[in-house]
Amino acid sequence: MSETRIHQEYVVSGNNFASAGSASEEVKSTLKKIGVASSDIRRVAIAMYEGEINMVIHAGGGVATVDIYLDRVEIVLADKGKGIENVELAMTPGWSTAPEDIRALGFGAGMGLPNMKKYTDEFSIESEVGVGTTVRMTIRFG
């Protein structure tokens, strides 16, 4: 028998700040319905939201795939954006290429990727300039 899984997919549209966070909102609602601990929900929420907003700001949108299992959630954020030249640098807290107009909106503090890593149990990022970026995260329920 295959593992019970709730599969969800969200299209995150680029440069639409108003819609950023809606995938996170739906995932939170599902996790609450299946009784996941609130501290775990919060970790998922932060990681999802930061990932969504990165796709909006830096990649012109993308797709969030969320698989919820009994003991964990696996999130894949894939975009076909401009990619990241130096992933290691991008992971540095406070490092950001967000333009001024976006910082003025309160985004681009350079804490997104570091926080996604911090709040998840598994984190990986693959990126190729001109091709796109894929972030994979797993959060295990405590």
Binding site: K32, V36, S38, I41, R42, I46, M48, Y49
Partner: protein, 427 residues
């Protein structure tokens, strides 16, 4: 697999939040579609509330053009229940009267219509603000601190935002603080405890419910909760007939402004605060807070009603009119707020007496695997539905209809009436 049904029975909330006048309800689904917790269903052409999900915000009362939704409260006849009657007028009450120049006119009017003593909730709010400032420094509450003055918002957090519970300001609501102080003082003056009845004049069903059940308190401090409109009808002629106006008010502008959105947040004197009003905006703030936002903010005031408590659904006046009147009246009051020191109290006196409990009303099943199975079934049902959220089935959205099916709230063979196979829909 344990079947979990949404209760549609009369329990405490049925008695203390909103009731339906079935003769007036035409089943138009307006209230159902706008309920922030999706607590309403239309069955047999009439709106029914799953009270375990009701937060008492009064949105359905506000929206129903047929006046079929009635906020619950105690009747004016309950004034006969106690020998010594203490009344607690909330700041929002003063916004109900046209051309009011002096708050003392309202306070004297309250004595004229049968109360023996008045204690302003606004005065108690100032002590709560004072306690809040202490807690913000030493209280160990997670930042940003979320106000607990609006019980509709607090109820929503207890139901849906469990991971924000650590942010809640653990002070008594100003009305409870007022009741505690007034009762204590009356007893100290030798009035027998059993003779004392504390009455609140409520702007909303959320406060009626919170006070009846007691929130953060060992037992309710308020004995009866009356409605603003009942008081208004009696106050207007009594105020007009006053010949002698005693100086009574002790409240400053700080306490009065608690009746409007931003009042409490400004009173903290923190530089970075948020004050959101209207339940949709409150939800947006709570969602963003869960996602890790607003870390630079120190205090968040959330009012379910637009404009704050002047927007409460049991008031008589338009929220924006009432709000402008409160602004006008604040200029007439002293600026220096009442301090806990003045009455020899410390922050401890104003703290919750016990922590409120979280509520699990959205969980599909206590067993996570069973809940997941329901979720998967829900998703597959949802895929077959028109996804137009028309409300014809008696549920507020296609996904709520799917959820009702898997929860066994409606018979498992109920069809979407829009798909045409079965003209009955929900019953």
């Amino acid at each position: 697999m344990a079947e979990r049904k949404i209760k549609c029975v009369l329990d405490e909330k049925a008695l203390h939040t909103v009731m339906l006048d079935p003769d007036k309800c035409v089943g138009c689904v307006t209230c159902m579609k706008r309920c922030p917790t999706e607590a309403i269903r239309v069955r047999g052409g009439k709106a029914s509330v799953a009270y375990e999900r009701c937060i008492g915000c009064g949105e359905c009362v506000r929206l129903c053009r047929h006046h079929a939704k009635l906020p619950a409260h105690d009747s004016w006849d309950t004034l006969g229940d106690f020998r010594y009657k203490i009344v607690l007028p909330p700041p929002s009450l003063y916004g109900q009267f046209n051309n009011l120049e002096d708050i003392d006119i309202v306070l004297n009017g309250l004595l004229a219509i049968g109360f023996d003593e008045v204690y302003e909730v606004g005065q108690a709010a100032e002590y709560v603000t004072d306690a809040t400032k202490t807690l913000m420094q030493y209280g160990g509450i997670e930042s940003p601190i979320i106000s607990t003055a609006c019980p509709a918002v607090v109820e929503l957090i207890m139901m849906r935002y469990h991971n924000l519970a650590g942010h809640l300001l653990n002070t008594l609501a100003p009305v409870d603080a007022a009741a505690k102080l007034a009762r204590e003082a009356a007893i100290a003056r030798g009035i027998p405890a059993e003779d004392i009845g504390v009455y609140f004049i409520s702007p909303c069903p959320a406060k009626v419910f919170a006070l009846k059940m007691g929130f953060g308190v060992e037992r309710p401090y308020v004995d009866r909760v009356l409605s603003v409109s009942d008081a208004y009808m009696r106050l207007v002629p009594a105020m007009a007939a006053l010949t002698d106006i005693k100086k009574m008010s002790k409240m400053s502008s700080t306490g009065l402004s608690w009746g409007i959105s931003r009042g409490e947040a400004n009173a903290t004197e923190e530089l970075k605060t948020i004050a959101a009003d209207g339940i949709e905006q409150c939800v947006a703030i709570l969602e963003a807070l869960e996602d890790g936002g607003m870390q630079d903010i120190k205090f968040i005031e959330l009012n379910a009603c637009v404009s704050g408590c002047v927007g409460g659904v049991m008031n008589v006046e338009n929220p924006f009119v009432a709000r402008s009147r409160l602004h006008y009246l604040t200029r007439k009051l002293k600026n220096a707020p009442n301090r806990m020191d003045d009455i020899g109290k410390t922050a401890d006196y104003f703290l919750w007496e016990h922590d409120p409990t979280l509520k699990d009303v959205f969980k599909l099943d206590d067993n996570r695997l069973a809940a997941m199975a329901k979720m998967i079934e829900m998703d597959s049902i949802f895929e077959t539905l028109p996804k137009v959220d028309c409300g014809l089935c008696g549920a507020p959205s296609c996904s709520a209809f799917a959820e009702d099916l898997v929860n066994g709230v409606i018979p498992h063979d109920t069809k979407c009436p829009r798909l045409g196979e079965n003209k009955e829909g929900g019953k």
